[in-house]
Symmetry: C2
Subunit: 310 residues, 2 copies
């Protein structure tokens, strides 16, 4: 099984279009130790020919252009694509807007929870994906399924499971209390298994905290891609970027007692890669103390184009 990170950044990308914070300003200037990043998405393939996307980021057209494995087969028909399915973990803009890139009469399958499929159905701009070509298939939490493209199974099995998280920003219900109306199916993690070998990994680009259910799931995992949005809870406020904490936006932080590094340390996870990293995160800087801290705790910082063979 081959995994390629198409984009490693949180929503907005790095640099972010309207951001003049230290990290965005420096990466725009080409300062050493910082690399541009597009918005989080991963491509997975069992056979190297048929690919499944985990989320469809707004940068998908650029990401496909930068990834030869995702180009049409030059020996194939005038319209063709190796992308056979998209599995969505949530309904946020940075996870679904790339579906709009995938118009143009190409058959593929979209998998998402009923809640997220409901969001797509309520936004008729997604009808640009014609129903007779693009099947929308609901995922039931805790029930593994074989991912199918237009010509059948692609050799991957996926299981979606709920993780603590927030409702998408554009659906926040300010009258619904501290969770803004979040439902269990708003955000999921994915267990992706190579059907033939049983080899697997976890993809969890958005997660508010580590609870007992998640601990049980991730115990002894061979490979994890995990929410690396923020380093500290108030870094966006401190940098003058956005008046919201990590808690408020539904993303766990890397540092501290309740952070991902400490919370996941006891779980004997063989390989841990941060993804969905916000432009405010100091761990984006190679050599920074925050970067050194997570690296010495056994974490890697995912980057656009990173390949992992399982």
């Amino acid at each position: 099984m081959l995994i390629k990170i198409l984009g490693s950044s949180a929503g907005g990308g790095f640099p972010q279009w309207n951001c003049n914070g230290r990290n965005s300003a420096d990466v725009r200037k080409g300062v050493a130790g910082l690399s541009p990043r597009t918005q989080a998405s991963v491509a997975v393939s069992a056979d190297g020919r048929q690919w499944v996307l985990l989320n469809a980021s707004p940068d998908l057209r650029q990401q496909i252009g930068d990834t030869p494995e995702l180009h049409p087969d030059p020996k194939g028909p005038p319209r063709n694509s190796p992308i056979k399915a998209v599995v969505l973990t949530n309904g946020d803009v940075d996870a679904v807007a790339g579906l709009l890139v995938m118009r143009e009469g190409q058959p593929f399958t979209v998998y998402a929870t009923r809640r997220v499929l409901g969001i797509l159905a309520a936004n008729n701009i997604f009808d640009v994906l014609a129903g007779e070509l693009v099947k929308r298939v609901p995922m039931t939490l805790g029930e593994p399924f074989a991912v199918e493209g237009p010509s059948g199974p692609v050799g991957l099995t996926v299981e979606a499971f709920a993780v603590p998280a927030k409702v998408p920003l554009y659906l926040e219900d300010k009258t619904a209390g501290a969770d803004f109306g979040a439902q269990e199916e708003d955000t999921v993690g994915l267990k992706v298994t190579e059907t033939a070998s049983g080899k697997h990994f976890f993809y969890i680009p958005g997660c508010a905290r580590v609870d007992d259910r998640l601990r049980a799931r991730l115990k002894d995992a061979p490979l994890l891609f995990f929410d690396g949005t923020l380093y500290t809870n108030d870094e966006m406020i401190a940098q003058g970027l956005l008046n919201k904490t990590g808690e408020r936006i539904g993303h766990i932080i890397m540092s501290g007692e309740g952070g991902s590094v400490a919370q996941l340390a006891p779980l004997n996870i063989a390989r841990k890669v941060f993804i969905h990293i916000n432009n405010s995160n100091s761990a984006l800087r190679e050599g920074a103390p925050e970067r050194k801290a997570i690296e010495s705790a056994g974490w890697e910082v995912g980057y656009d184009g990173m390949e992992v063979k399982v």
Copy 2:
């Protein structure tokens, strides 16, 4: 007044993600005489500091990255942008999806017809642009208005006018006859005037045919950016790309008696630039007979990064 073409391609861009037609395959291989193109959008500024976008393409994040004039002011606050307003000509994905890139708490103004604002309102994913920051202002056909950003007028006046065209693909009503339910406000052309000098140009990236109203508008125009989607009516069918004619997708063709080159020739337009060029169009190839034909008729083929001073 400075005009920059951010993207010169029709929907899908060039190459298109799933296209293995001759043009897309060749530009992917780096064949000489073909250049990659992002989806159609133009940036305009009267003062070189405040910019207005004509349409927000799905490639907007990449386009901003490639255009230093649109970067945040490095001496400004942690969040800032020179983009003060977006004027929409229609509700197609390639004209509006870039609005989703412009989330992140930045104030600006969106101008569109009531019909297109209604499409945005019916798709709550666009609520990611918070109403208190991003004003949505209706344009009335035939009534010029001063474009205003968050701190007032930016020195440009815009007038929207109806052009013959089609309803967006995802809103096609198959029961509504040959025009699929198209309304007059579905697609507009724009007259953009530098308020101080009165200098102006026309931006018409989508147009089904040249009628008498349009002829009267464009007579003696100093500068026109015009729909260059297709060269011949059936080229997408002939190349095996899509089973639709230019007529069916609501775009005039370049060639022939009813085409844009012939129809606009008598109008004494000083400078004519094609934009919104589809990946199937042979005029994309430098040196091709189709390219030579339109160039010898006085047309230019717009390209990403092209600058025009007026």
